[in-house]
Assembly symmetry: C2
Homo-oligomer: 115 residues x 2
């Protein structure tokens, strides 16, 4: 069975946003911690931190901020602007994937591929 793969990302002098940064931000959103989000992806903390720095620079806005105090003694959280951006990216990616699959069926749906 042949399967279509479709990858999208934003570029501004290098990768500015795509599935990797999205997954990391999603992890921070869910765990409230960059440490935890990085660990869940098998990524070192320093690599995750550098990734966030790079993406912030390329996008031109702040993605995460420190949570000060509280029972857990702080952590990281997603900025409102980053949240809005993530929701846009989710819709954009889902829609592109669906359109790509439909376009694939249109052009290749009738092709008989052996085995």
């Amino acid at each position: 069975m042949i399967r279509l793969v479709c990858k999208v990302w934003l570029d501004r002098g290098g990768k500015a946003f795509g599935d990797g940064p999205y997954d990391l931000l999603k992890g921070i959103e869910q765990t409230g911690s960059l440490h935890q989000a990085a660990a869940n992806m098998g990524m070192s903390y320093s690599k995750a931190w550098r990734l966030i720095q790079t993406i912030e620079k390329r996008l031109g806005f702040t993605l995460i901020e420190r949570k000060i105090g509280g029972p857990s003694g702080g952590g990281s959280q997603i900025t409102p602007k980053a949240k809005t951006f993530m929701r846009r990216y989710e819709k954009f990616r889902a829609e592109v994937n669906e359109l790509a699959e439909r376009t694939y069926q249109k052009h290749f749906g009738s092709v008989r591929l052996n085995h």
Copy 2:
């Protein structure tokens, strides 16, 4: 300026077709030679040959055949089935790129990104 990148490929236990194989086949179509097409892409002949073998196996049909004789003493040509497949892929890729760009504008067109 942020720019959208969209890559599509077919997968069947590994990459079965995408821009790389397409470019190589296009080169063979234009030059009538796998040697020449590989050289134009800065790819070794043996690597190009292995790529064709792998793609043929995954797609399940023959992509190139030897041209026997003639003034140039042979060379390679694209099979009719590969030609049809390439034309489908060109239309498919162009359409996906256009749809992806339109979807990007729809979701991110209003976003102000600094610098």
